[in-house]
Amino acid sequence: MSSIPHDHVAGHAHDDHAHHPSGIMRWITTTNHKDIGTLYLWFSMIMFLAGGVLALTIRTELFQPGLQIVDPEFFNSLTTLHGLIMIFGAIMPAAVGFANWQVPLMIGAPDMAFARMNNWSFWLLPFAATLLISSFLVPGGAAAGGWTMYAPLSVQAGMGMDFTIFAVHILGASSIMGAINIITTILNLRAPGMTLMKMPLFVWTWLITAYLLIAVMPVLAGAVTLLLTDRHFGTSFFNAAGGGDPVMFQHIFWFFGHPEVYIMILPSFGIVSTILPAFSRKPLFGYASMVYATGSIAILSFILWAHHMFTVGMPAAGQVFFMCATMLIAVPTGVKVFNWVATMWKGSLTFETPMLFAIGFIFLFTMGGFTGLVLAITPVDIQLQDTYYVVVHFHYVLVAGSLFAFFGALLALDDLLQRDVLPDAFSRPRRHAAPHSRLRDAVCRLEHGRIDRRVRLWALADPLPLHGSESDSIRAAGACQAMGGVGHAGVDTALAGAVPHLRDAARGGLIERENCAHE
């Protein structure tokens, strides 16, 4: 039940399943959101390891003072590429991978709205990544001006910088396509009765993330394009000689860069908000306030970019404004943390590995938040800017935050898929866990049979008849069969069902849908 390849090849749809491509072609031509989600996750894993190798090299060099194994210029390349690869290659694609897997399932859509664009937005990534990594091999080495690529240092850099600029362009195009796809899917392909305020929180966070992506990725593309023309076509956007200003690059970059950090963390908020209720056996606390908090974070993220630039010498009024705007972010973020803790409060907690990651997320992400608060205070930031304090701050948020959530999601997914590929730290004695699948069990308990409705809801929704056969198979299958026998359907329903608000959606929507389903 993977893909609909024939459709792709012929350009007009006959549901002819005789020519399923197999092997590598299956993955290259796939338009199935789950396949593409899997591709995203594998890509992200590979890039995570690549970026990890760079990080290990950095730490090896820093094992003791003095120069040991790499020279300073190469060291700068390592830090630059580590940043770019981890951000654009590991974290963002992983988030898109989970969105591909879960968003259609959670909202009862048959697939992503633009299935072929989905394929294209993934397959741009390997090319961009190759361009980025191969820049190590060109004369002058890879870009070494930091992942922020500040002009004029990046203007004087070698050919590696051009590779990086083009790679960023391609990665940006991919992200924008992915975001358009996700927004369209969420806004247009929800099952009947699935109102916006009944969507699982993961869907909400991704909807907001996707808007952020569309708003700011073009800004980054603009910034690096200006850099490119400054480098090669004699413009002086960032050169004072021609009336430009080097600081303008920083303004443009951080106008992208700050929403970007929320692009990387918001999907993780959604994941944690999904995992936590399942293992607490208790509905998410404050669903509506979670949605509003996510929205406020996204809006605020556009008005505080210059807190990355407190040392460039902006006027006092600017510093105070950006300081206060930055501190305001702590309010919705705090609300989220409080809600998570309240979700656990008086629950019936078990500690399977996804839950451990979720708890680890809350604990360590909050440390990232507190260090962020310290950094928001302009005078303190002036001491801490460009020091390891900042490095520590964003690694708390990105590693202990985003990455922990992704690990948790991966394990939950694995668990639901019944693959048992990944180990569960607590699984050996299995005293706290259900016999077959821990999360599934937890969800079933929570759902009290709602899963059944969810499956039918999903099957009936089917606004794009691309997956006729697929929905038919589900339609034919009962809920339990879907959970046990057909792995994929099990995930859909279980994770989606973990959000209790669906109960009413399903009930109301189903009846309505059934009335008009056979018109």
């Binding site: 350009g11 007009h12 749809a13 004699g234 050169n239 004072a240 000689a241 021609g242 009336g243 010498g313 006027p315 008849p465």
Partner: protein, 176 residues
Amino acid sequence: MTALPVHSNRVLLAKLCVVVVVMFGFGFAMIPFYNKICDVTGLRDIDLADKVNNTQIDTSRSIRIELDANLNKLPWRFRPLTPIVSVHPGELAQVVYEVENTTDRPMTGQAVPSYGPRRAGEYFKKLECFCFTKQSFTPHEKRQMTVVFVVDPKLPGDVATITLSYTFFEVEGNKT
């Protein structure tokens, strides 16, 4: 989905071609558009002499003007002949910078002014400045260049010192 006739593909192609043409056209239409914006907002007027409306000399206070010269990767000599002058707000003053091209090739440079504190910039009116145009130098040419300026009497009272700093950049493109 139903099978589409070949005709509709052609229509789509034609539409897409129109979109391409319009987008290119839009790109070129941006040139006069931006020119107009710059004219209206005065964004590009950095190389024009400032207008002085109020020439009332405020002798009650004097402003210390520190002159500063920088070179951005240029093998020249560039310095103010007097590093510090004192002026009254509203008073017309003239300072001289000396530039020498120490290389064996003709070079063109552009000087960019900057002010410390930054907010003093808007009160520092330059009537004549070598920074308004590109400056070309023959090999080993040494030239003195003047700046005529007035400090606006509206300058905030807590600013007692203004640093006028010039940085000479080579104008790229004249290099080879």
